[in-house]
């Protein structure tokens, strides 16, 4: 029987917590950005587009360092947050969630944007002629039709968050019980002699979690598709 050690349980729990919050927290922003990029023309759009995609091409360590400079206790934003509200982000699991969210953000936005661009604007016009305002139309017509894209975006972002390492270790380091997620625990084990067996077990757990996430995504997306097709 494969029972988890307390270290494994803790790393798994943290990974799920961090990735879950990373996705949930960034989803509304992701949908808003995708909508802006898909539907609106504004000056500096190319710049915004590039900025959103930057984490995809930058080394994660750069993103992590940038977050540290920005959100660290002595950072521009982080300092203010600490001074006024007593909130610390760096070196906490919340920081890990933010790092994961930033890294995974481009994947999420891309998937939702593509889906939004595929929505028949005529359906939105039809909703308007039926007495539905722009905001209500977005929630009752556009959003349900974009659901497959949102699902894809969420799964991609979640999977990317689970595997996040570089930005996380730079920004929030390796703190047991706080920021030591599966990849970080795995990395730590490979750095000590005799950690091979424990590392292998973490590998298996990672594979199982990732696979379960993909499977769940597939089942959900089939359901959504079936709903749209009747």
């Amino acid at each position: 029987m494969f029972t988890l050690t307390s270290l494994e349980q803790e790393a798994l729990y943290l990974s799920l917590l961090v990735s879950g919050w990373a996705v949930v927290g960034s989803l509304p922003v992701g949908i808003a950005c995708a909508w802006l990029l898909a539907r609106r023309e504004f000056p500096g759009k190319a710049l915004v587009d590039g900025l959103i995609h930057l984490p995809l091409v930058l080394p994660p360590v750069v993103v992590g360092y940038f977050l540290l400079v920005l959100l660290g206790r002595r950072g521009v934003v982080g300092g203010a947050l600490y001074d006024w509200f007593g909130i610390t982000i760096a070196f906490t699991w919340k920081g890990a969630a933010i790092a994961s969210a930033v890294i995974a953000f481009p994947l999420m936005v891309r998937a939702i944007r593509l889906s939004l661009e595929g929505v028949d604007r005529g359906l939105e016009q039809a909703a308007r002629t039926l007495g539905c305002g722009p905001v209500a139309t977005f929630f009752s017509v556009t959003l349900p039709l974009v659901m497959p894209g949102i699902l894809t975006g969420v799964i991609l972002a979640f999977a990317r968050s689970l595997s996040e390492f570089g930005a996380t270790i730079t920004f929030v380091s390796n703190i047991p019980g706080e920021t030591r997620t599966l990849p970080i625990a795995l990395y730590a084990l490979t750095q000590v002699p005799g950690g091979d067996e424990a590392a292998l077990r973490l590998c298996i757990i990672s594979v199982v979690v990732a696979f379960a996430a993909l499977l769940a995504a597939e089942i959900l997306s089939r359901r959504v598709q079936a709903r749209l097709k009747g």
């Binding site: 028949d120 005529g122 359906l123 016009q125 039809a126 909703a127 308007r128 002629t129 039926l130 007495g131 539905c132 305002g133 722009p134 009752s140 017509v141 349900p144 039709l145 659901m147 709903r227 749209l228 097709k229 009747g230």
Partner: protein, 366 residues
């Protein structure tokens, strides 16, 4: 009901239309690209005129001079699109209720059950749009627009995407709607069949302008509009009533102001009020009443006018008991007969030249 005077430039194309429509069905008829859809999109608020004014039922929806531009969702107009545009993620029932649910109780003037009954869509309520046939989709789309209790129903070639069987399945419903629910309809079409069986008033669109407007029979029978209406073979459109069917001879008798017409048997109920089109080239003219002849319809008439038409043809307008019949004869025939206005003649129409498609049941305006 609808008062419209708008101008809108789209690239090099300019739509400039003035319209006043009443009750019943008003058809905007014209070739593709004549600006028909642009006009109803402006009425619906889906596109914005550069300048002008749109009023429906005394409510100003758009007025560029005083800066009024009511959002589409506040215009209370029903719009039936060519491609249906049912919401794929909702059941038929939810689609039908989409507009209805957004109305307060006092604004609801159209009864759900009545619409379901008239459109015959009761058995579809729990289905998804993806599982409906083209004709069913359009009926649901019509129901959805109607249930929003619109001031006016806008229809943009709702039958264009359907084959002729599906078309015949939806057409009668549209005719029944305007009367049953007392909602005026603005109907965009480039199909003469649809215009004949639906339109009380006809607006001919040409190159972004309303070239002519008036009662359907009158507009269609006007010679000078032939260039616009003549894509379908030119002729007169008259009103008639089905007298009865003769099973033995296989004929149907129609009566109109100028007499009785025989045609190949059709399935219209006796007593039905119909519209009938008689192609100008199907009418022959005789100075004396011919004796033994196969032509079944020989009607006494008086020549009203004679004018030259293109290609050595001559247009002759006959007054047949107060109804104008437009005949086209060759210049050579005119040389022989020397027709003059005021002459008493006989109009001859072969029964078989009146095809079933030339007759459409159409009651008087609501």
């Amino acid at each position: 009901m609808l008062e419209l005077a708008v101008t809108r430039r789209q690239g090099t194309f300019q739509v400039q239309v003035e319209l006043n429509t009443g009750t019943g069905v008003t058809a905007l008829f014209g070739p593709s690209g004549s600006g028909k859809t642009s006009v109803i999109n402006m009425v619906a608020g889906l596109s914005r005129p550069d300048c002008g004014r749109i009023v429906v039922d005394d409510k100003v929806l758009f007025d560029s001079t005083i800066g009024i531009d009511v959002a589409p969702e506040h215009r209370r107009l029903g719009y039936v699109f060519q491609d249906g545009r049912l919401f794929p993620h909702l059941s038929v029932r939810s689609n039908l209720n989409f507009g209805l649910n957004r109305l307060s109780a006092s604004e609801r003037r159209v009864d759900f059950d009545a619409v379901i009954e008239v459109l015959g869509i009761g058995h579809l309520l729990d289905r998804r749009p993806a599982l409906l046939s083209g004709g069913e989709k359009q009926r649901v789309a019509i129901g959805r627009a109607l249930l929003a209790s619109p001031r006016i129903l806008l229809m943009d070639e709702p039958l264009a995407a359907l084959d002729s069987n599906r078309k015949a399945e939806v057409l009668p419903f549209i005719g029944a709607l305007s009367k049953r629910f007392a909602i005026p309809i603005l109907y965009v079409s480039h199909s003469m069949d649809e215009v004949l069986s639906l339109a009380d008033t006809l607006v001919l669109m040409d190159q972004g302008r309303a070239a002519a407007a008036g009662p359907t029979e009158e507009v269609l029978s006007r010679l000078e509009l032939r260039a616009l209406t003549g894509r379908w073979e030119a002729g007169s459109v008259i009103r008639a009533v089905v007298q009865g069917h003769d099973t033995e001879t296989g004929m149907t008798r129609l009566s109109f102001a100028g007499g009785t017409l025989a045609m190949a048997r059709n399935h219209l109920p006796p007593g039905a009020s119909v519209r009938l089109r008689i192609h100008a080239s199907d009418i022959a003219i005789a100075l004396d009443r011919p004796g033994r002849v196969s032509v079944r319809n020989i009607l006494p008439a008086r020549v009203r006018s004679v004018s030259a038409a293109e290609g050595h043809m001559v247009d002759v307008v006959l007054d047949c008991g107060g109804t104008d019949l437009w005949a086209q004869i060759s210049g050579c025939a005119q040389a022989d007969l020397a027709l003059q206005p005021g002459m008493e003649v006989h109009a001859m129409i072969k029964a078989l030249t009146i095809a079933r498609g030339d007759v459409a049941e159409k009651g008087d305006a609501a």
